[in-house]
Amino acid sequence: MAFEIPRTTYSGKIREVTAGKGESALTVGGETAFPFYLFEGQMPHLPRLAMEVYDSPPSDWPEAAVEPFKDVINDPVNWAKKCVKEYGAEMICLQLTSTDPNGENRPADKAAEIVKKVADAVSVPLIVWGTANHDKDVEVLSAAAEMCRDRNFILGPVEEGDHKQIGAAAKEFNHIIAAATPIDINLAKQLNILLGNLGVPDDKLIIDPTVSGIGYGIEYCYSAMERMRIAALTQQDTKLQFPIIANIAREAWKTKEARISEKENPKMGEAKRRGILLEAMSATLLLMAGADILVMRHPDALRLVKELIKDLAG
């Protein structure tokens, strides 16, 4: 039996979505085959790596995660600059944790000002992330969208409960929506349909499938993402043909496995490298499942995954 390279018949393609403005704009998506099935199709835009910046200093990070940002941890503007200049971030994901009504509860207009300052300070595309509190996210993300109109941010998480308001703001002020649903292909599709009905254009939408890290249910989002890609590429499911964003760093670092010291459990090895690998390995698995944008934290994890993507694209 002579060998012939097998080929899947693909009938669909992932849409291309461009984030940011002008020269520094980046396009993701466009795949015509399963992730890295390069013998069957193309990945015209390789997956991109964003880095997290917090608008107020995080209090619960393991030492290893804080260390690279020690000098900028109180200053989102310089934090973002450092990520781009020193660590090679391709996008910045500004996590607006200070707006959490159960925490600091920073008002929307103040948060929007920070967004603008960060956006002005770095040239890479910006992802602006709320706290998943619907009422507050509507205020905060709408204010940021308006203050930075036409800058083509990615706004998230946009959930069913706030999609109308944030969707309208994104449409009016020209930004992209990250549509977030809890690890389920049908819910994801449903929200994409709702956003489409609202008039959010197809090139302004990406999917946030809700991810988790190794040891905390990564297999669920892994399979949900695979199923989305199968539906999009082989079953002409146009409402799932969108790039996928994976907000993975915070999931990997909040686990007790990323925290535990080598002294407490010598078998777990050195804590810093373990934390970095929990992040980088989780990201690697999600790359294999179809992630187009990975939100990363530690510069070494970012470097490892970036190199891997480069190697894989060859």
Binding site: F3, I5, L38, K256, E257, R274, L277
Partner: protein, 448 residues
């Protein structure tokens, strides 16, 4: 399964004798096509028909066993490209490398690592599986000595690696009873290694320069009667190595291409010098189809995440992982410590116990058997209701451990509070947080 029930039926004796346990040949044919019975149950088949049917009903990726006895490792036998379709069957063997160039101390250290780095997680033991014993010097005596050392030093299964068949033969002699994997047949040593494989009964890895060449070699091995085969496409750059894994799996499953229907072996240890990068390449191959993954070394910080990643990817998506019902003591609780209850979906348990642990508040966690469903789902399904919770806790023996009678229930089943209180007379039922992330502030503020 390449043949349909009707096609199989045409090959059967059609006597309807019933010796196979079902009344008719047709029923037997249907059951065979559905994979619900075994060929050998019909005693009336000619040799020719038996061979034909055996071939047609063999799994598209053959399972291969490395090692002997209880400790043997089974790889391959995979049936799907994507885990949600059914499940991935046999997790890849994680392997540590030792060579005859390493010092005694280094070899000892590596054997110690493979023996001493198992981890307990959700009631399972996670560990690396194999030691690859590699001849780098070409010296047969050194290789034999190393094989002996490994045999004596660990129960882990063994891969013997040498380009020279006589060296491999000496290695096999040293550890024949462990049924090591022989690495590797190539087009240059073919005749000799076929002979050694047949004599020793060991599984055999095949190394080629491409997937095409691999298929040619395995067809020849198949013709020589060798079926316990592991594939190495020879690629050592990450891109080609991944492409080869995808192509091999797809050819075997989607095209039923028999010459590539075997598990694979990959060598992240030869793809980079950076141990961190090696670890993420290994994680990639856990997801993408490797049967054996050979690492240059094992360290807790990379081995632990890799083993958990493997556990996750190979979890049966149709059967949630569960934690055993019972009382779990976290942070050394005493008789005044709070008591919480949750479901036995292992992910729920992991998250809740992890949050309690990081709160540093001593606590008892009662895990109730909910058949692996989460709190919300099991409550909706009636498996996490007042009666079952109440009686399980009262029977658990917790009252011997605590002085108080207070139970904290998950916020999601707040509606169940009064009903539970009725089932547990004299107890105060307190509604805890919905979200695990809120456990720490809740416990810190909690006054028993």
């Amino acid at each position: 399964m390449a043949l349909t029930g009707i096609e199989i039926y045409k090959l059967l004796p059609k006597t309807n004798c019933g010796d196979c346990g079902v009344p008719t040949c047709l029923a037997f044919a249907m059951a065979l096509a559905a994979g619900k019975t075994e060929l050998d149950k019909c005693p009336h088949l000619s040799e020719e028909v038996r061979t034909k049917l055996a071939e047609a009903s063999a799994p598209p990726i053959l399972p291969v066993v490395i090692g002997a006895g209880d400790n043997a490792l089974k790889i391959g036998g995979e049936t799907v490209m994507f885990r949600h379709e059914k499940r991935f069957e046999n997790p890849p063997g994680i392997t540590i490398l030792v060579t005859d160039k390493m010092s005694d101390a280094e070899v000892k250290d590596r054997l110690k690592k493979i023996n001493e780095l198992p981890y307990e997680r959700v009631g399972l033991t996670l560990h690396a599986d194999l030691v690859a014993v590699k001849s780098e010097t070409g010296d047969t005596a050194k290789f034999t000595a190393l094989a002996n050392k490994v045999k004596a030093g660990t129960k882990a299964n063994i891969i013997l690696m040498s380009e020279k068949v006589e060296t491999l033969a000496a290695g096999v002699k040293a550890c024949a009873e462990r049924k090591p994997l022989l690495y590797a047949a190539t087009k240059d040593n073919f005749e000799a290694i076929v002979k050694l494989t047949k004599e020793s009964g060991c599984p055999l890895a095949v190394k080629a320069k491409s997937v095409e060449e691999l298929a040619v070699l395995t067809e020849k091995l198949g013709a020589a009667g060798i079926k316990n085969i592991v594939l190495d496409s020879g690629a050592r750059n990450v891109k080609q190595a991944l492409q080869d894994q995808l192509i091999i799996r797809s050819a075997a499953l989607n095209k039923k291409y028999r010459p590539l229907g075997y598990p694979t072996i990959v060598f992240p240890c030869e793809m980079t010098k950076d141990p961190m990068k090696e670890a993420i390449i290994a994680a990639m191959f856990v997801a993408k189809y490797a049967g054996i993954i050979v690492l240059s070394d094992l360290n807790g910080e990379s081995l632990f995440p890799l083993l958990v990643a493997r556990l996750n990817i190979y979890t049966d998506p149709q059967r949630p992982m569960t934690t055993k019902q019972g009382i779990y003591e976290i942070n050394n609780p005493n008789e005044n410590s709070p008591l919480m209850v949750t479901s036995n979906f292992s992910l729920t348990y992991s998250i809740v116990s992890s949050e309690i642990e990081s709160s540093k508040v001593p606590c008892y966690l009662f895990v109730k058997d909910t058949e692996g469903l989460s709190v919300v789902t099991s409550w909706a399904a009636g498996k996490f209701n007042s009666e079952s919770i109440g009686s399980a806790i009262l029977k658990s023996g917790i009252t011997d451990k605590i002085k108080h009678h207070k139970l904290i229930i998950p916020g999601y089943i707040a509606d169940e509070r009064d009903a539970i209180a009725e089932e547990m007379p004299g107890w105060e039922i307190i509604v805890g947080p919905k979200d695990a992330a809120d456990i720490t502030p809740f416990l810190k503020a909690f006054k028993p």
